[in-house]
Symmetry: C2
Subunit: 487 residues, 2 copies
Amino acid sequence: MPIALETFFLDPAFEGTLQQQIQQMVAGGILSGRFRPGEKLPSSRKLATHLGVSRITVTLAYNELMADDYLSSAGRSGYFVSENAPEPPQLSPRSSSDTVDWTRAIGNRFSGNLQIEKPLDWRKYKYPFIYGQVDPSLFDRQNWRLCAVRALGQRDFDSLTADQVDRDDPQLLEFIARNTLPRRGILAKPEEILITVGAQNALWLAAQVLLTQRRTAAHENPCYPGLRSILHQSRCHRIEIPVDGDGLPPNLVPPETDVVFTTPSHQCPTASTMPISRRKELLRRASEDDFLIVEDDYEFEMSFLKPPSPALKSLDDDGRVIYVGSFSKSLFPGLRLGYLVGPEPFIREARALRSAVLRHPPGHMQRTAAYFLSLGHYDALVRRLRNAFHDRRRIMDSAFAEYGLTVAGAGAFGGSSYWMRAPDGVDTKELGDRLRHRSVLIEPGAAFCESTSREYKHYRLAYSSIGAAQITPGVALIAAEIEQMLR
Amino acid sequence: MPIALETFFLDPAFEGTLQQQIQQMVAGGILSGRFRPGEKLPSSRKLATHLGVSRITVTLAYNELMADDYLSSAGRSGYFVSENAPEPPQLSPRSSSDTVDWTRAIGNRFSGNLQIEKPLDWRKYKYPFIYGQVDPSLFDRQNWRLCAVRALGQRDFDSLTADQVDRDDPQLLEFIARNTLPRRGILAKPEEILITVGAQNALWLAAQVLLTQRRTAAHENPCYPGLRSILHQSRCHRIEIPVDGDGLPPNLVPPETDVVFTTPSHQCPTASTMPISRRKELLRRASEDDFLIVEDDYEFEMSFLKPPSPALKSLDDDGRVIYVGSFSKSLFPGLRLGYLVGPEPFIREARALRSAVLRHPPGHMQRTAAYFLSLGHYDALVRRLRNAFHDRRRIMDSAFAEYGLTVAGAGAFGGSSYWMRAPDGVDTKELGDRLRHRSVLIEPGAAFCESTSREYKHYRLAYSSIGAAQITPGVALIAAEIEQMLR
């Protein structure tokens, strides 16, 4: 790639000749690693015009640089960074952080929250029992690509490239309102739906709109680790409610609660499902004590054992439930598309906040998803995922029986993971570390729990990314490692 | 489109027969507008299996619905919503907001900030002198599409679909570090760069990390309206500094300032450029009074009159400058891709915040941009835009001379807009409203200013979206309207 002309500036404060300054710019670029061996420099004529200097000045500078072996010339085809040019030292940023006290300069600190350790190179592991990554062998790449190309066609181009200020793609909104939400028993107008950059973004917007330092949020324990960072960031008062085999127990929600965050259809990470009676009880409590509920309905599509129960929001006559949906689990997480459903006054504030934070999720992603959904590819994909997950689950079940692993939560409707319990004396953090060396990835339970009450005994095993053939040997390795740790 | 099976649930609490319940579900779907005339219902066999009832129950329910003209049957091809089915009433959401006091329930209010009135249907106007929208006749749709398809190819698919947790696309980072930033005189390591969902998102992240209720931000007046919402939301103490023909005057920055927000290369909206001497003075003040600077370097690519001066960040030896860049102006705003450059401790916090808010901008958009940039299409596009804008600017200049409009700020390097002054007695808000009726769009100055000190006299005229042929008649209409208002 040729080195761009715009890289070069004259500094009016430079002390020395123009030729020296040009030499220094080029040598500086090479020494700092910006210009690399073999890259072509602008012609002397072009650089001279660009800098407003005479061509001979540039030629003289280039010749000096050739003599020093910074540059080489290939006759008429121009000047190149020499293959023998001095090597750049380890890149040291020009801006040293020494003069600014960043400990003081940073007003709000966001780093340092516990996250699930999710190695980005999980594909290199033979037995990846990890959650929430797409299985490339199941995804319908061909049709997704066709939809993406269609969304970039002449007809759609104008609407997708424009700054939509705070609006979403009407086609995607229409599909969600008319097809996705009715399957969960929810009726919503487009003004009650907001498209978000993934479910994480939806939960964040809800927390920001509803919570303040003086308000109280109750959430499940264990829970999705991203939710903890979000609530921590909102600075609200936070209450953890231990879940049981039926999910969140409504009677444990304290009366002073302002907002409850829950995953009724498929508790994260224990995989339990909240029965209808408990859902009604939770709504009754909400009405009685005047609190709101944020329902994260992730993964409802993965119900292959029996049909999913209707969403909590479908039972909500008061408009107390804010619903969070996502396409990341069944499409792919890198897509970053989710949605919020709630009463108009709430959606209005969430939209205004989204507008200040990022305006709107990219138009092209919204339209591609709208096509993929409305052409029926999404339903076909979900069916394929369900079948594959159903098969894998059967293999998981028999492997657990064969190798004697204990399931703590299995999910009555299906899903894509199990919540497991290790025997007493086995720290699952250590188990996870040891298994990594054997090319097995599991998710230790500690990441889902408060640092003060870590869940050392539990771990999650997902079957959404691991191939059917890897399951039994992978489970065998887990069992063998546990046995070794017990010795 | 057939109506999905999953739309149907049995309610254990329903009082009545199963057949009645099925009838009610179907009729309810039609009456609420979810099922529309001509849509196909699931076969009686499939619905019976799904609900776990006998097939005859479903058939009887369907027959009753046919008798009432909710459904029609096309013999063996199944049941459809009848064209004569009762019309749905105006959609009324199930969740009435009456039982929840949303004035109280909403903890933080974000709506109601003044924004530029940017009609989304601007393409319908004959003379759209508006800013920041893409001109479809100049954009290289064909190559963008090829890059998008390539980014969805087998080879890239894995990395783009995966949840990257908080990481960005290494190819895009590499290109920005090695090619884009050096053109602005900036040297940065990948760890000092964060990809954002547009420049708006970059400014928001910077404000959230650096500001608190106890800190003071100084910003230009007039300024980009999105910045005001961002600072308002951070709840910091806010100081407005009036700009002059050379941009922000450093001597007006109060010593208690913690962060200065500025647009030195092309002040928004007055189009002035800060001279090198003033940039150095601003940096000296920053060092002396220990404040930070957020530099919004939007539109530097549009320098066609003379080369752009180096970014403020390129003169920054202390690491006090946080740099905001964007591809939205030269690619298209719906892309939503920008970036932040700053010292590592700052980028670390911005990354952690971004991760909680939205994880990362969609992988596919990042890779598509990386290809478009590295294959040289971006530079070609920028050249094309510069040439077109240069032509349009010449036409603007002669039209202003011909019709006697007064330019208040023109931008020494080029850009894509003028800051205009209307004669005394002309309120530009009213001027804008009147011109709309004549199919002319202008941007009244009030949107860029504090509500307490509205800038009634100024307005912005951009030439990034208006075709060359429309410019002179459009300017003539503006002049005619102004004359009429003066009468």
